[in-house]
């Protein structure tokens, strides 16, 4: 078992509902057109689009418009909080209120890819990009 996996299990163990996953392979299952199911605890998707479609859209929805129930998932379409790239990177890494910290399930490259994807889709047209190095720096800044 890798140290990373052990850490994840420790992290979720207090919830007392875990079923340890036996497979550790880095690839994923899914036919063309189907959603991806990673075979490891972390996300296997690499491109910004694949990460959005298989992770973010669970809450922010396929059209990036979010959803409203007793509380709301904010729309990413035209979201002013995306203007500075570091801001969504921090949210992906640390979580924020209803948003869980999904960044620990992604590499620095994956976080950068999905943030860049969101900042250039759903009518967002930011030209600057964030890099894996930016993500790494932000990750080490906050535990």
């Amino acid at each position: 078992m890798s140290a990373g996996r052990l850490r994840q299990l420790t992290l979720i163990a207090p919830l007392a509902l875990i079923a340890p996953a036996a497979a550790l392979a880095q690839n994923a299952t899914g036919k063309p057109g189907e959603h991806i199911l990673s075979t490891g605890f972390k996300f296997a998707e690499q491109s910004g689009e694949a990460l959005y479609v298989n992770v973010c859209q669970a809450c922010h929805m396929p059209d990036g418009k979010g959803a409203i129930g007793a509380g709301a998932y904010p729309a990413l379409a035209g979201d002013a909080n995306l203007a500075v790239g570091a801001s969504p990177v921090a949210v992906v890494i640390n979580g924020q209120r209803g948003m869980p910290p999904v960044g620990f399930l992604m590499s620095d490259e994956q976080v950068a890819a999905v943030v860049n994807y969101v900042r250039t889709h759903f009518s967002n047209t930011y030209r600057d990009t964030v890099s894996a190095a930016d993500v790494k720096a932000l990750r080490s800044g906050k535990p």
Binding site: T39, A70, G71, G98, P100, P143
Partner: protein, 532 residues
């Protein structure tokens, strides 16, 4: 090294000694430190005595925490009202049956098509024997319980890339793993490798214990024979009459078990939450919520979406709208407020509490979880595979398959929990799919364990908690760090407001945590009321 005499004092002797010398309080203290009396934090029914001076309490949320508060506070003499977002009571205490519909965020609506008498619990589904508060309310509210089968030795452990993808019986993996380990330990003991840690006298006892525990033969070897077969199961079971002698099967090699990582799953059964006996309400988990609602339903205003919580010196005012027609704002007022709204939602509602509680409300993200219920034409897991209740674990993204604990051996249809994906990549990935795809993928994956799936499958429902409108997630996700920083601030009474729910407990995601948190919150609130 301790003397043999000191270590030979049994727990019971020790307790008797302490009891005589120091009285029963010390005895109870000692019992707790030895772990006998401490597993349940439930002290028994609460008695909120004293003059409440006509005080009123507004409770937000009619889940188990909210309805516990409503039931107990009304009994104590408070004027109580409850606001609930859903059109039903229970919150995450929830069961889907044939004919039920559910619309998730994003607009997908599912209609459950299960045959009458079958059900699926999207939320909590089992009650450990030491969850004393849940059990006591079940008893007081006449909720019939039945055993929930957690550990079934005949269910499977499955790793897609081990043993050619063939599922292994829990019984054989557990026995073979323990047998091989016992043999290794016995070898090391006999060779004197453990002499520093084990006294000569203990060595003999340890060898005997390893032989018994590991089903070893007289030479302390773990082998294919009738000693191991009595634990791991037979290749041919004992019968009657001629040709009836049992035959032993070959144990799985230690290196194959180690490589498969199936040993990891054995740990889940050993956790105290999953040790027998566990219970479930007969007919579905929502029998508990319904029983609470029979007691408190007249206090509940349904379809009420809270939009603002404001307190001042004179009381608490909560603004809400009709969840189905959100145009007109209404208000409810009381002297005090108990909010059980999940933090994923409360963190989005304007509320004037102090900076510390505010920070605590914002600090707890919600875990992601998906559950999938599948109906099959026949109970093939019982008829073909002799699996009656219990859980199979797999490295596939569905993570587990749980077999129904009721209706055993009766034939006809059956409903399985076809996937329970808690946290990790797959929880988000399943939640990102449309419900029908979640079900289809669970059927496709599950057929690697049960090849009967494709021909026997009829219909299914899939609940992704991230998309559940009334929680936006499964349960509060605490870490050691956030607990140290924020937990006490979350639980403190802030002015006239106190929070309750599983998120304000050390039993996250458990109903016991919701009730214990509620009892603690209203007890503290009550003390404040009768004191002032």
């Amino acid at each position: 090294m301790q003397s043999d005499k000191a270590t030979a004092v049994s727990r019971r002797d020790l307790l008797a000694l302490i009891g005589t010398a120091a009285g029963s309080a010390a005895m109870y203290q000692a019992m707790q430190s030895l772990g006998f009396a401490a597993n349940s934090a439930y002290p028994g029914p609460i008695a909120l005595s004293g003059d409440v001076k006509g005080a009123s309490v507004l409770i937000l949320g009619a889940g188990l925490a909210g309805m516990t508060a409503a039931l107990e506070l009304r009994k104590a003499g408070y004027k109580v009202q409850v606001l609930e977002y859903n059109r039903r009571a229970g919150g995450r205490n929830w069961t889907l049956r044939g004919g039920d519909t559910f619309t998730e965020l994003g607009g997908f609506t599912q209609t459950c098509a299960f045959e009458e008498g079958h059900y699926f619990n999207p939320g909590p589904w089992r009650i450990p024997y030491h969850h004393g508060a849940v059990l006591d309310y079940c008893k007081r509210l006449n909720v019939a319980l039945e055993p929930f089968v957690e550990l079934n030795y005949n269910a499977y452990l499955h790793a897609p890339d081990a043993f050619g993808g063939r599922p292994q019986r829990i019984r054989t993996i557990k026995t073979d793993f323990e047998g091989h380990v016992a043999e290794l330990l016995a070898k090391a003991t006999a060779q004197g490798r453990l002499d520093e840690a084990v006294s000569t006298e203990d060595k003999e006892i340890l060898l005997n214990a390893l032989k018994a525990w590991g089903a070893l033969d007289k030479d302390y070897a773990y082998k294919a024979n009738l000693i191991s077969a009595r634990v791991r199961g037979y290749a041919k079971g004992p019968g009657g009459g001629l040709d009836a002698a049992p035959a032993a099967g070959e144990p799985v090699a230690l290196r194959d078990i180690l490589k498969s990582e199936l040993w990891e799953y054995l740990r889940s059964f050993s956790q105290i939450e999953f040790q027998t006996t566990l219970f479930q309400p007969a007919g579905g988990m929502d029998m508990i919520g319904k029983a609470f609602a029979r007691e408190t339903g007249d206090l509940i205003r349904y379809d009420a979406k809270v939009t603002k919580i404001a307190q001042d010196d004179s009381g608490v005012t909560v603004t809400y709208v009709d969840a189905r027609a959100p145009a007109a704002e209404q208000t409810a007022k009381a002297d005090w407020c108990v909010s059980t709204i999940p933090l994923s939602i409360l963190s989005q509602i304007p509320i004037n509490v102090g900076a510390r509680m505010r920070a605590a409300i914002d600090a707890v993200p919600y875990a992601s979880a998906v559950k999938i219920g599948l109906q099959f034409k026949r109970r093939f897991w019982e008829e073909d595979e002799a699996i009656y209740g219990g859980i199979s674990y797999t490295g596939l993204p569905i993570r587990e398959i749980a077999y129904p604990s009721s209706g055993l051996n009766r034939g006809g249809r059956g409903v399985l929990l076809g996937g329970y994906i808690f946290e990790g990549s797959n929880a988000y990935e399943f939640a990102s799919m449309a419900p029908a795809e979640r079900v289809a993928r669970a059927v496709a994956l599950g057929s690697q364990i049960h090849p009967q799936y494709p021909t026997e499958f009829e219909n299914g429902v899939a609940v992704a908690w991230q998309r559940v409108p009334f929680t936006l997630g499964c349960a509060g996700y605490w870490t050691e760090k956030t607990r140290a920083e924020h937990y006490d601030d979350l639980c403190q009474i802030d002015g006239r407001i106190v929070l309750a729910g599983e998120h304000a407990s050390y039993l996250p995601a458990w109903q016991e945590g919701a009730i214990l948190s509620s009892l603690d919150a209203i007890t503290r609130l009550h003390h404040r009321v009768v004191r002032t």
